[in-house]
């Protein structure tokens, strides 16, 4: 809890200023404001605007972390300006100066305002963000189990602030990636038992080269989200349902990679890297490596492979023969596979629904 009894003190805010219409390059500007330490970074920015420079641009509305308007980067980390106390921001500040920048991965309109329409909202539109009713529509309400409803409330908690979009590392190199916020929104409907289009939605998102298999699993969005939406966790569930429940084989090697990896551990107990890549391209059998797609991949990787062989990093035997755990242990591992994969339904503990009974 923030200490609300401390007297006002000086805080220096270093803001990144930019006006594309001016023709000038972005620049940093410092302002020192006087506020109690429990007040927010947003209040500091607004005070600087009131007292020193009326042209400072920031988007804000509710000032209580629910409208999602004031997403910025504070000391390089995504945050809601209204939800970041000045004393906490000062702790993460270099040289005692709190740095505030616009969010990343989106074009800057002015100063701290980014173009959410050009990126974030377009991506949300991409995932058909509305419920498509199962038919026939019941006369009264649909009956949905409590757990199923709590499950989708996690992604419904999203306030569309764009913090996860700002820091998505996949989007940084591939701007067309649908991204964490929109895919979390996609799960909101895929996970809803009332929706009629689960397969169609998943097939669409799996076949898109910039869909669910373009996520690089970096946990940035999980950390960035101020509302515990866990976008990456939702993306992994989209993948699980697409591959496991609907057996969707996508053109991006997502399903094949997962099957190859899981299958190799079942066969050997340990990963066999030399076999993982060709199977991910050519299919989950020993013959996968003779598939044209695997051959093409092998050719394009020759510069690395040749150097690895010359340097002795990879030996021909190491590439041709897997390393395995002992036979008795492998049998135990395979028996675990048999038991779990043989269940009529996947069993999945969702801590968001169940809570921690032993924190």
């Amino acid at each position: 809890m923030a200490d609300t009894h401390k007297p006002p003190q000086d805080f220096t805010i270093r803001m990144r200023r930019y006006d594309p219409e001016s023709g000038e390059a972005p620049y940093w500007e410092d302002h020192t404001v006087e506020l109690a330490p429990h007040r927010s970074v947003l209040e500091a920015i607004l005070q600087a605007r009131d007292r020193f420079d009326g042209s400072i641009a920031i988007r804000c509305s509710c000032r209580q972390a629910i409208c999602g308007s004031c997403g910025v980067r504070v000391n390089g980390e995504p945050a809601l300006a209204c939800h970041t106390h000045l004393d906490a921001a000062l702790q993460g500040a270099k040289d005692g100066v709190i740095e505030v920048e616009p969010m990343g991965n989106m074009p800057v309109i002015k100063d701290l305002i980014v173009d959410m329409d050009a990126v974030h909202w377009k991506k949300v539109q991409r995932v058909t963000p509305w419920l498509i009713n199962k038919q026939p529509v019941p006369e009264r309400e649909y009956l949905v189990s409590h757990d199923a409803m709590v499950d989708v409330t996690q992604s419904m908690a999203c306030i569309q602030c764009g913090a996860c979009v700002s820091d998505c590392l996949a989007m940084e190199v591939d701007p067309g990636f649908i991204g964490p916020a929109a895919l979390a929104k996609a799960y909101r409907f895929v996970g809803d038992p009332r929706d009629d289009q689960q397969f169609e939605r998943l097939n669409d998102l799996a076949q898109d080269p910039q869909g669910i298999f373009d996520c690089t699993h970096c946990f940035k969005c999980v950390e960035a989200c101020p509302k515990d939406v866990n976008p990456m966790g939702q993306i992994m569930r989209l993948r699980r349902i697409a591959t496991n429940d609907h057996h969707i084989v996508d053109q991006n090697n997502g399903e094949r990679h997962e099957a190859a990896f899981t299958g190799l551990i079942k066969d050997n107990g340990l990963l066999w890297e030399a076999e993982l890549l060709p199977r991910s391209y050519g299919g989950a059998s020993w013959f996968g490596k003779f598939h044209p797609a695997a051959g093409k991949e092998l050719l394009s990787s020759l510069p690395s492979i040749i150097r690895a062989l010359i340097r002795g990093k990879v030996t021909p035997m190491g590439a041709l023969k897997p390393h395995k755990i002992a036979k008795s242990d492998l049998q135990s591992v395979q028996s675990i596979y048999r038991e779990i994969e043989g269940r009529p339904e996947r069993y999945e503990l969702n801590l968001y629904v169940s809570g921690e009974d032993e924190p």
Partner: protein, 300 residues
């Protein structure tokens, strides 16, 4: 100190120099490694993506095997991806007695049981928290003076912070900085040091994957690092093994050597680059070898 040691798969596959260098430095650090050779792959997040219960059960088996090692104070791994994947499974296993009982039911056939609360630390964490930076400093025989080292943390060992126990008392996302400093080296900061190496999408979007690796390597080149150091063998694969391809994607020459953490520690403890397997890297660690030759010449 005796530890139940989980080397992972890649340190025994495509990065054998990692496992080898760990074995070389362990006695110098007074570490007794009891290898968990019966355990299977952590799943690297991919098995969990396929079937969460399967990943949780396979890792519970590994934890149970580690808990059987007599006299071991904790479990240690040398792979950030294993750390991240295992921490995620452990979070679920430790949060619910019912779930743990369910998973232990599957392990019962083999007579194994996972007891809540295993301590599983990456070598980086163990180095700082168990051995201690002061002790490490005292063991240094050849300080890394004037060697400019860029830390490459990757993702799995720094995010998400609560799950990985990162807080102001345990700034684990700064430990590479602290270790480089304790070994006498110069820390070089650069934009990509806590970003994704690109490995997880190498088969799904190769261009984006190599662009990630190439950008971080390029940032490190621009910051004038002599080499990078990483606690993750999968990051090593994308940053070292794939570097020739990454160079093509970002359109620039990189030639940035990438060391495994035990190799960097071994150098400072007086071992030679070759003993630490550096001759097996795709990118020849010339800068590091030149540095060690110069240091040896100066001492002679």
């Amino acid at each position: 100190m005796k530890v139940a040691y989980w080397p992972g798969c890649v340190s025994r596959g495509f990065t054998p120099e990692l496992h080898g260098s760990m074995a070389r430095i362990a006695p110098l650090l007074d570490l007794e490694l009891v290898e968990l050779d019966r355990a299977c792959c952590s799943g690297a997040g991919v098995i969990a993506e396929h079937n969460q219960e399967l990943a949780d059960t396979l890792n519970a088996r590994t934890f149970a095997l580690a808990q059987q090692v007599q006299g071991a104070e904790l479990m240690m791994n040398i792979c950030s991806t294993c750390q991240g994947a295992q921490s995620e499974c452990q979070e679920r296993l430790d949060s619910s007695a019912d779930y743990r009982a369910h998973v232990n039911g599957t392990l019962a056939g083999e007579g194994l049981t996972y007891e809540k609360g295993i301590t599983n630390k990456n070598f980086l964490w163990l180095l700082v928290e168990e051995i201690g930076l002061e002790k490490l400093r005292s063991l240094v025989k050849r300080p890394l003076t004037n060697l400019k080292v860029g830390p490459f943390y990757g993702c799995y060992i720094v995010r998400p912070r609560p799950r990985l126990g990162i807080d102001s008392e345990h700034p684990r996302d700064h430990y590479l900085h602290q270790v480089i400093d304790a070994l006498g080296g110069t820390v070089i900061e650069y934009a990509g040091m806590r970003k994704c190496c690109g490995f997880p999408i190498i088969t799904m979007n190769k261009q984006a994957s190599l662009k990630q690796a190439g950008r971080h390597l390029g940032d490190a080149v621009d910051a004038e690092a002599d080499c990078l150091v990483t606690p993750c063998p999968l990051c090593h694969l994308n940053l070292d093994l794939q570097q020739p391809l990454a160079e093509r994607v970002v359109g620039r020459e990189l030639e940035m050597p990438v060391l495994h953490l035990p190799q960097l520690v071994g150098l400072a403890l007086g071992l030679e680059p070759k003993e630490l397997g550096m001759s097996r890297h795709v990118v020849r660690p010339t800068s590091v070898i030149d540095w060690s030759t110069a240091i040896v010449a100066a001492t002679a």
